[in-house]
């Protein structure tokens, strides 16, 4: 009990000791809202046909807290509840497409979206002083643990979604769904030892994963009875999903392994590509890393201790939703990690 309480305090400190919440400038938020959030509270992924997803709603809600915009937060949450909360297990459908009748184009859940939404609700409860948000967050994470929590030979994991990620010989994982700063926050609402343990075990899992993939981290992978394997039916590459791993590691206050320096060094190289295959085919993107990568790279440099300066793009933000979102999240993460 005592040990759990002290660990809890440590986690709470990590979650709350730094500048909190990190700040988004009014100019940035206006830009983001104008480009990516509809008046109804739907976050638009303009690089994917204008669809919306639970992850985007979660990101939008997080950013609204940092922008101190309670009204937009409520609109985002309301749209999420009325359009994505159609599952019976308390989780959210992950994809909404305006061209599909009824909107829902995939009823499956996405754990990263659920985590992000719960995390944003918890932060909003603290920032705006609204206990109802905290209650909603608690309900979501309880559902998460009931639905997607699993034990593996490498410790506890959360499956990427409610169905389709348990295969005959193992589980399919998405390392970018290990949202470490969310774990710290959610530990204050739920079973603290579980979330603390999850954080520790997922960090160790990542180190093991990166060693296996010679410095890179895959977007998707399969943890099977023979170790790490290619995920069936999913891209086996180091790409746009995995680039969030350093973001979350750094933001969550985790010790950023020196192995992450290999990723940073790769991104800096003249032959770096936006994604590369990890299946031995040497297939790779024809274009270099973009704004999304640069945003995370700037934060990673600080976490690795190489540089302590940081560049915030106030205006203009990148034109696509993903890069703009990561640009702002990296800024928030840097402030909460390094700035008083």
């Amino acid at each position: 009990m005592v040990k759990a309480v002290w660990m809890l305090s440590l986690l709470a400190c990590l979650a709350g000791c730094q500048t909190w919440p990190g700040r988004i400038e009014a100019e940035q938020w206006q830009n983001y809202r104008q480009n990516f959030i509809t008046p109804e509270g739907r976050v638009i992924d303009n690089a994917n046909g204008g669809v919306s997803h639970s992850e985007g709603q979660g990101y939008g809600m997080l950013l609204a807290v940092s922008a101190d915009d309670g009204e937009t937060f409520q609109r985002l949450w309301h749209w999420t509840q009325t359009h994505l909360a159609i599952r019976e297990d308390g989780l959210f459908a992950w994809r909404w497409d305006p061209s599909v009748e009824g909107g829902i184009s995939d009823r499956n859940s996405a754990t990263d979206g659920d985590l992000l939404i719960a995390w944003a609700l918890s932060r909003a409860a603290r920032h705006f002083g609204n206990d109802r948000y905290r209650q909603h967050a608690s309900e979501i994470i309880r559902s998460l643990r009931h639905t997607v929590a699993r034990e593996t030979p490498m410790g506890s994991v959360l499956l990427p979604g409610a169905f389709g990620f348990e295969v005959e010989n193992g589980v399919i994982l998405n390392p970018s769904y290990f949202i470490f700063p969310a774990y710290a926050e959610l530990a204050t609402l739920d079973d603290a030892p579980y979330w603390i343990g999850l954080a520790r075990q997922n960090a160790a899992l990542l180190e093991n994963l990166q060693r296996y993939y010679t410095g890179f981290i895959p977007d998707w992978t399969l943890l099977g009875d023979r170790g790490w394997q290619a995920p069936p039916g999913l891209p086996h590459r180091f790409g746009y999903d995995a680039l969030r791993v350093p973001l979350y590691l750094c933001w969550g206050g985790e010790r950023v392994a020196t192995s992450m320096a290999e990723i940073e060094a790769y991104w800096k190289g003249s032959d770096a590509r936006a994604w590369i295959a990890l299946d031995g085919t040497e297939e790779r993107a024809s274009y270099p890393p973009g704004d999304a990568h640069r945003a995370v790279q700037r934060l990673l440099q600080s976490c690795l201790g190489a540089r302590s300066e940081f560049q915030s793009i106030i205006s203009p933000l990148p034109e696509d939703y993903y890069a703009a979102t990561l640009t702002l999240l990296a800024q928030i993460a840097w402030q909460e990690r390094f700035r008083q």
Partner: protein, 754 residues
């Protein structure tokens, strides 16, 4: 798995309580990650500051970067008094919409890149915030460099194409930081750094004496004020005076600085000025023992030791004055000890680069070093020199530059070296030789009227274009675009006399004339209507400012009361206490109503009838009541000293009370007001943005120029008089000629008749 529902509420409450407590206990080590921030939390002296980039440049307007490759540097000063944290550059940039995606700006501090901004044609305006790590910053001047690579095409391009540009908004772009005062190192050698211009914001120094100071102490304080002002170069400085009361019953008991009254120095740095016996209660044993001779000592002060007290003392007022004067003359070379007797110091103030009349002076003598510039739009080369305020040159006189320069081969015929004097374009040298050239003694005449009294800036701006700059994939070489200006180039003026018309408060503001420069040989007398704290503080502030604009201290200085003074005089105090003779000589002489400025039918006849347009006050004069004038605020007026036989001046600075004088002079010496000084009389009113200026009712000439120069001067400034005299001479000769002709005709007629 998760705990039972029963335990949850309790755990949650305990967790939150512990989180709150733990936050307090664990927060500090986390903050210590960021070095300076830890100190900032525990000290109450932390302040947040913002420095717009335009304050870091001599030029106004945005920073414009043209061409394919260019850079600009601003200097970010950091005072030795401050420890900076959370330094952040908020940068607003606009780029040409013709730039393609390869274009970008790199921002570096002291050579280390800290940020890169891609230029986008569809979003030409960007705003970026770049955190600058304090590990890359150092005390002194830090170079913040903006380097651009700009392109409009993937294929061959003209590196000087006009659409290749970007601009930094220097008004909105700001460096923000938190500043925490550092603990003072008690070293006299550090004293100039402790007050230098890099210390941003308002700075004031309080000189404390035991009881009101006598004339000798006021003189000593004037030297201290000037030393402090010169340390700050051009940055504003307010000098204040505070009175110490010696505690009773402590004849043999010595205390320490901590026993000074809490607010004696107004929360800032201070000076204790007085004899050893006067200052005894506050001198420690070491200082007391060594103060048997003139002494300077520096001690940290305040709870955190981030302020200082400078002690200027000796056995009597003469020794105190000597210690203060040595401080003023040696402030750039004080010893690296906490205290020193002045006999151990070597006095000498660096001279400024002064342009002498008719003398050939090399650029090296004026502080210039040979320099080579490279590229299409390289940084200009600058030469700065001082022109004495009382120089008078005849019309068509010239300042001649004789340049020794060289430029490289391959420059296009349109390349030039443009020469500016005080930001006005004066001359261009075409760099036409395709094989390059070396010029010796390349003479460039500049009208001497382009010189200004005080500091002058001579700027050489190369614009060098490569011969091949675009077309069908031609290689563009810019490495050969080289220009060197050698320091054995020289300049020389035609002979100039010493003659200037006064009053001219603008000349006082720019150069300190007539209290500075050559005329200082006779000395300056400071006259105070009474030795009150307010009057003394005002005098010190003003003298400090005059030393700053002169870039040199006023060394021959004495203080007197209202007894008559024949030479240059600076009079401060309350108008009611000014002697009648001086009142009448000033523009404020009349009882009741005062005339300010010229009014047709009164005042200077020459000005009314013959003055060139520029000398006439188009708004005419006006009359105001003395009472109204005094109530408004501070009055500064200059007039000819009625007691002088050699055209000396009195500058009178008066206010209704000593306290008003103190506060309003403190405002007047701020740059925003000081540079508005002009005319013969100026009125400062609290809260007003502009000073009220009035021309003089009577002008007078000062200088050693001969009769010819005086005649030339008169004709230049009164051209109608010249015309009238010439007309009168012509008329006279005509009449004489007519008379002679009539006489001749009569004689001739008489002869013929005979």
């Amino acid at each position: 798995m998760r705990q039972t529902v029963r335990g949850e509420p309790c755990n949650r409450i305990v967790a939150r309580w512990l989180a709150a407590v733990t936050t307090l206990l664990i927060a500090f080590p986390l903050y210590a990650q960021n070095g300076e921030s830890a100190n900032a939390l525990v000290s109450s002296g932390k302040s947040s500051k913002g420095l717009p980039l335009h304050q870091l440049r001599a030029e106004s307007g945005p920073i414009r970067l043209d061409g394919t490759q260019n850079s600009a540097t601003v200097t970010f000063p950091i005072s030795a008094r401050e420890s900076l944290s959370e330094v952040e550059l908020s940068l607003y940039v606009t780029n040409s919409i013709a730039l393609m995606r390869r274009s970008q700006m790199a921002v570096s501090i002291n050579g280390s890149v800290i940020g890169q901004i891609p230029f986008k044609s569809e979003h030409p305006e960007s705003h970026t915030r770049i955190a600058i790590p304090s590990t890359l910053l150092s005390t002194g001047y830090n170079q913040l460099t903006f380097s651009v690579a700009q392109h409009y095409t993937e294929s061959c391009e003209d590196p000087a194409a006009p659409e290749l540009w970007s601009e930094i908004d220097t008004m909105r772009s700001v460096i923000r930081y938190n500043a925490l005062p550092r603990t003072i190192t008690p070293s006299l050698a550090q004293l100039p750094l402790l007050m230098d211009k890099r210390l941003s914001g308002d700075y004031s120094l309080t000189i404390a004496t035991v009881n009101l100071p006598d004339n000798a102490l006021i003189e000593a304080g004037a030297f201290v004020a000037q030393a402090a002002a010169l340390s700050r170069e051009y940055a504003a400085l307010t000098i204040d005076h505070a009175t110490l009361t010696k505690p009773e019953g402590v004849a043999s008991e010595r205390r320490a600085l901590d026993d000074l009254p809490d607010d004696i120095f107004g929360g800032g740095d201070g000076v204790l000025l007085g004899t050893r016996d006067e200052l005894q209660p506050w001198l420690d044993n070491t200082i007391y023992a060594k103060a048997s001779e003139p002494l300077l000592a520096l001690r940290p002060y305040g709870r955190e030791g981030n302020r200082f007290v400078l002690i200027v003392t000796g056995m009597d007022s003469g020794e105190v004055r000597l210690a203060a004067k040595t401080l003023m003359l040696a402030y750039e070379g004080l010893p690296p000890t906490d205290l020193s007797n002045v006999g151990e110091m070597v006095a000498g103030v660096a001279t400024r680069s002064t342009l002498h009349s008719g003398k050939r002076q090399s650029f090296a003598e004026l502080g210039f070093e040979s320099v080579t510039r490279q590229g299409i739009y390289p940084e200009p080369m600058r030469l700065r020199f001082w022109v004495p305020a009382d120089r008078f040159a005849k019309p068509n006189s010239e300042l001649n530059l004789h340049l020794h320069m060289a430029y490289g081969a391959g420059a296009a015929g349109a390349s030039t070296l443009n020469i500016f004097l005080n930001n006005r374009f004066e001359h261009a040298i075409a760099l036409m030789e395709p094989v390059g050239a070396v010029y010796y003694d390349y003479r460039i005449p500049i009208p001497i009227s382009s010189l200004a009294p005080g500091w002058n800036d001579l700027t050489f701006r190369p614009n060098m274009l490569p011969q091949r700059s675009g077309g069908e994939c031609q290689a563009v070489f810019t490495n050969n675009l080289l220009l060197t200006l050698f320091d054995d180039s020289y300049l020389q003026t035609d002979e100039m006399g010493q003659l200037v018309q006064l009053p001219d408060l603008n000349l006082l503001a720019r150069t300190g004339f007539p209290f500075t420069g050559g005329r200082e040989q006779g000395g300056l007398t400071v006259m105070l209507t009474e030795n009150s704290s307010g009057n003394v503080a005002a005098a010190w502030s003003l003298l400090g400012k005059l030393a700053q604009v002169n870039h040199y201290p006023i060394t021959k200085l004495s203080v007197s009361g209202m007894e008559g003074v024949e030479g240059e005089a600076l009079l401060l105090g309350q108008f009611d206490d000014v002697p009648v003779l001086l009142k009448q000589a000033s523009a404020l002489g009349r009882e009741g109503w005062i005339e300010l400025g010229n009014r047709r039918g009164r005042g200077n006849v020459l000005d009314n009838l013959f003055a060139a347009d520029a000398a006439k006050d188009k708004s005419a004069g006006l009359e105001v009541s003395l009472g109204d004038l005094m109530q408004r605020g501070l009055v500064v007026t200059q007039f000819e000293n009625p007691l002088s036989t050699e055209s000396a001046s009195v500058v009178m600075v008066v206010a209704a009370t000593a306290e008003l004088l103190r506060s309003q002079v403190a405002s007047l010496v701020e740059d925003a007001y000081w540079r508005q000084l002009g005319g013969g009389t100026v009125v400062y009113t609290e809260g007003a943005e502009q000073l009220l200026k009035y021309p003089a009712a009577a002008n007078y000439l000062v200088g050693d120029a001969g009769a010819q120069a005086r005649i030339s001067y008169t004709f230049i400034h009164y051209p109608l008089l010249a015309l009238a005299i010439i007309g009168a001479v012509i008329l006279l000769f005509s009449l004489l000629t007519l008379r002679w002709l009539i006489s001749y005709r009569r004689r001739r007629s008489a002869t013929q008749d005979f």
